[in-house]
């Protein structure tokens, strides 16, 4: 069954026990992103301190893929320098557009490498990207507020 390539245990584990979930104070920007075709929704907050991602907190409803993606995202970017976080984001995007052919670097993407199987399913790529798009939007808003241009 191909399903195991999409629903790897890492993904199901994050789905059942999401990391960093819940909305926290303080935060610099909050966004609400939806996937209008399937009803997935995420509210996501970002706190930035100088060039560092201090915190990412979120509340979401959605499928296992989008929920797990939010959990993995927070593991990857919280505590990172902004430029490193954006570079991880780029690598994740690259993998998600690889149609299953990517060979992701586990040193960079850690648990997120499990999503390479999802990239073979066009309808589900947007599920995996939903929290990342929200994070990028919230981070840009946080930086704009502080007068920093990314």
């Amino acid at each position: 069954m191909n399903l195991e390539s999409m629903y790897q245990d890492i993904i199901l584990d994050h789905y059942r026990n999401p990391h960093h979930s819940g909305l926290r104070e303080p935060f610099d920007a909050e966004v609400h992103h939806v996937n209008p075709t399937c009803g997935d929704e995420v509210t996501l907050r970002v706190r930035v301190d100088g060039e560092r991602i201090e915190d990412v907190s979120y509340e979401s409803t959605g499928c296992s893929i989008s929920q797990a993606a939010a959990s993995v995202l927070t593991d990857l970017v919280v505590g990172q320098e902004l430029s490193d976080a954006l570079s991880i984001h780029e690598r994740f995007l690259e993998m998600m557009h690889s149609q299953g052919r990517g060979e992701p670097d586990e040193d960079v993407l850690e648990d997120a490498v499990a999503f390479v199987g999802v990239s073979r399913y066009p309808a589900r790529i947007k599920c995996a990207l939903l929290p990342w798009m929200a994070w990028k939007d919230a981070t840009a808003q946080a930086l704009a507020q502080k007068g920093v241009h990314s």
Partner: protein
Amino acid sequence: MTTDLAGSPVLRPRPPVGSVADAAEALAGAQHYDVDVVRKDFPLLARTVHGGKPLVYLDNAATSQKPTAVLDAEREYYERHNANVHRGIHVLAEEATAMYEGARTKVAAFIGAATPQEVVFTKNASEAINLVAYAMGNAGASGPRAGRFRLGPGDEVVITEMEHHSNIVPWQLLCERTGATLKWFGLTDEGRLDLIDGVITDRTKIVCVVHQSNILGTVNPVADMVARAKAVGALVLLDGCQSVPHMGIDVADLGVDFLAFSGHKMCGPTGVGALWGRGDLLAAMPPFLGGGEMIETVTMERSTFAAPPHRFEAGTPMIAQAVGLGAAVDYLTDLGMDAVAAHERALTAHALDVLGTVPGLRIIGPPTPIGRGGAISFAVEDLHPHDVGQVLDELGIAVRVGHHCARPVCQRYGVPATTRASFHLYSTQREVDALGEGLLRVKAFFRL
């Protein structure tokens, strides 16, 4: 029903619906309905997916598959008769016009319209609803005949909480343009309209309601809605997308003023739908889109407009698709809509039984086969429908997941989305059983 090429209508007399005798006749019809024979008319149903698994197509509320007769009709039109319609004095133009207008005649007979001129071809049902909404918005700048359609502050438009977005958004936009107020009937916990008094008032100009909900499957009490609307002089628009393909429809019996439906859900091609409107209303309605075909005379200053239905069909229409829809109507008529409805009723009852055996499954909508059709939404514990649908797809079972363009319904029942199985005249009990088994596999996969 038969028509000649020029489309002269030969309307079949229709028996009154709803009697005990009819029900008995419908059941008798179902016994002669051989679904395995019917399926042979649909080439796509024979295909396999994901490495040889037979396709179990349960996404019929989204769109239906097409019988060979429809595919052949479109192909033959293009191969033998293709020309633009209503213009040109040559053989092909005359044949194309006759085929296009013949399709109108077939559709009119299928829904019990008084004349073919009461049927306007649109690109889909959404456009049919928008046609009425925009015509009403244009009525303010039209002559006294259009008074019936004029809306302003203080006037009210009534919809329901179970409408498809295409029967919500056009009315929201119309109210924004005109200053009228949008009101709606809410839903009961069982998935039916909560028909309280006070929603329809003497300020109500139009009541827009779905005949059969695409997400809940509920079949609404049209007669009750019509009685309430008529009592205050309001118009009634019925969204028939999920009813016209699945049951015998007679607009005169229903008593509504407008009926919108799509071709592709009734075994016809995509790109064609229809608006039926009562003749006197269409005649008084201002145009929606301007362009070729819809005019009477044009000067540089102003234009006068053609009579319905052409007033509402600006530009070259979807000729081949309309011809295909005409073939679909012939196909459905040959099967007999009473037989189709009886088949689907039995299938829906079986599906509710099967789904009831899946532990942790909750039906969202009426739980019994009474007053509901064959579109069944459900939740499997707290699994997201995307995950349910993904595992089912792997098994070859096509269902729809999401909010089904009825987000307010999902909000009403506290779910982000639903999984929906929906049947058609070629669906089988085997397929329903496969769905039940598939859902057990879903639960096992996610270790529930």
